[in-house]
């Protein structure tokens, strides 16, 4: 629980500005999730090899799960880490199936490496958007003077 004694006090316009910034970051997260969902749906639709299309869920549901995970992982909240936990495994398997199932298919090793890169890129991007290490989150405790 936040210690009230150390909570900074902000003027109303600063609070409003912070709310707008927060809303913008939420919108960016939702937009990124939508882009990832659309991209993944299109990628999965390129698979032509039957054994690579043997999915657990319908194609649209898989794309949606990944998109929602990326959206959650990119939110500027503490629990966005849950999204980041979900992203890697489905991304790796889905994109591995894309690379090895498209026409012409990629060699397994190349497909695996590229799927790993996709996984790392999505996780890193959502972590960057969620945490913004270069910016202090509004409401966090200011640095104590040395």
């Amino acid at each position: 629980m936040r210690d009230r004694a150390f909570s900074p006090h902000y003027a109303p316009d600063v609070l409003a500005q912070a709310r707008r910034r927060r809303l913008k970051r939420v919108l960016v997260a939702v937009l990124l999730g939508s882009i990832v969902a659309a991209y993944t749906y299109g990628a999965l639709d390129q698979r032509v090899i039957a054994e690579d299309k043997n999915d657990l869920l319908p194609q649209w549901a898989e794309a949606l799960v990944l998109g929602v995970s990326v959206s959650v992982a990119s939110l500027p909240v503490g629990w966005s880490v849950l999204g980041r936990i979900v992203i890697p495994i489905p991304t790796l398997f889905l994109y591995l199936s894309v690379f090895t199932g498209k026409d012409p298919p990629l060699p397994f090793t190349a497909g695996f490496v590229l799927a790993l890169i996709y996984t790392a890129a999505l996780t890193a991007l959502s972590a960057y958007l969620g945490e913004r290490p270069d910016r202090r989150l509004f409401g966090t405790r200011p640095q104590a003077p040395p």
């Binding site: 882009i35 991209y39 990628a43 012409p104 890169i117």
Partner: protein, 607 residues
Amino acid sequence: MPQEAGHWLGRRLQDLVRRTGQWGLRDSELGVLAVSAVLGIAIGAAVIGVQWVVRLVHTVFFDIGIDRHLSEGRGIDWWRLLLVPVLGGILSGIVSDLLRRSREREVVDAIEANALFGGKMSLVDSASLTFLTVISSGFGASVGMEAGFTQLGSGLASRAGQELRMRRGDLRTLVGCGAAAAIAAAFDAPLAGAFYAFELVIGSYTTAVLAPIAIAALSATLVVREVFQAESIFTLDRTVQVAGLDYVLFAVLGLAAAGIAVATMTGVTWVERIFRRLKVKAWARPVVGGLIVGLIAVVFPQVLGSGHGAIQLTLDRAIPAGVLLGLVAAKGLASAISVGSGFRGGLFSSSLLLGSVYGGVAVVLLQIAISALGYPETKLDPSAYMLVGTASVAAAVVGAPVTMIFLVLELTGSLPAALGVMVGVIIASVTVRLTFGYSFATWRFHVRGVAIRGGHDVGWVRDLTAASLMRRDTHVVPLGMTIADFRAKFPLGGHKRAFVVDAEGHYRGIVLAADAHNPDLGDKLDERTIDGLRFAEDNFLLPQQNIRAALGRFSSAESETLAVLSDPTERRLLGFVTEAYVLRRYNQELERTQAEEHGERTLFGPS
């Protein structure tokens, strides 16, 4: 030996230009028409040449046939898809870095040249930028070549106009001719080319500039068609069916197209911001960008290059709807990353492809929605929706709605399609203008801090500086002078004002003769000084401040006269300007600009 040959050729060209200049082209409207026709032919041939070089690079590095488009994406090895854009990034990074070292200034494009520099562009800068665009598009970055074409065309036209010592208005028109010829040649569409120049480069349509721009666009198109037999970027071999309901849906399509356009434009800035925050070196940015584009291209090879081949595939319905959905996201990302990472090129072609795949997805979704609402017998024509999507997104991104309507009309020859496109384009353009306020070109100016919204000539405002407006016949009096001495030196009916300077020669204000002769001042005038009569000590102009800043300063200072000083610390008096004169010059320039736009050469030009 080649250097000597180059010198010889240069001398012959200069000689030719000098002789041509003696024909009196500067004062002849027919002369401007002749120059625009010649330029159209030259630029048409240059565009074909550049396209051929790009195709050659595609053939060599992607191992595709010379007659095939890169963005068809068929039969390209996965490792080429991944690595060639990286190689392009390395080349682009090195060349950009070398150019940055040799020329630190930004390259002036056609819009900026016409808005601020009276149509003056550097041919070397333009050729360099075109070369970088060839590298970018040739090695697979998701950018269009049109920016390179217009830069080359406008640069050539500007150089020719400068050599022929054309007037400011004619030079601006020639820059428009260059852009019109380039776009007309690139798309085999003279009307689209001409209106591209009117909407973006000239900033307005007037009958005075119609003839030269139309001639340039036509001659470029004729060269491309008859001499090189070049093909259109897409063809439609079906009749487009548009009914009453479609127009309503086109409006909806236009609304969403505006959102896609804004997302793409701001996406570029977003990518640039991420690169800056991560402190990636400028030369390394295209390498990283190329790698990301390569990773996207392994899944969606259609994102590579300008996208002409993919537009045809989309219109031929050779790409499944699911893949189209992914392609909307992939192309938007790839274009934003390519431009944002420093590859040179524009979003003209990219937005055409983005729009066509968006239209392809939208028609599927709308058909599902209509069936779900209980009208399964209503069938929408996918071609119409793809065309509307294409033109709407491109109009919103490029900022040229009429150009896009004509482009569709010229490429399809279908009036129903053009009418439908008109609805989507207008909605998309108005939405972007009201919500975002910029096209991609003006957005880039805004990000750079250049306050221009189009090709309108606002350069004269910058050219009319305090230094060029000021009078130098200042009458200077020392600080501490008595009023009696002042009255003796400046009797009523003589000079109206004097400028006060201190012992070190620093400006300390203005004293009006009328104030010094005010009967209410009382007596003991040989003891009282003029110091109390001074005003505008802290209100002055600097030599480089323009006429608009000067008018603002007159208003805020509530003074009719302002001193022009060397700088705020030294405060050396250089001259002065009066509000009446500045207003008169402002009105004169406004009238001159207006007269030039309407072709009234007799007002301030030759008869």
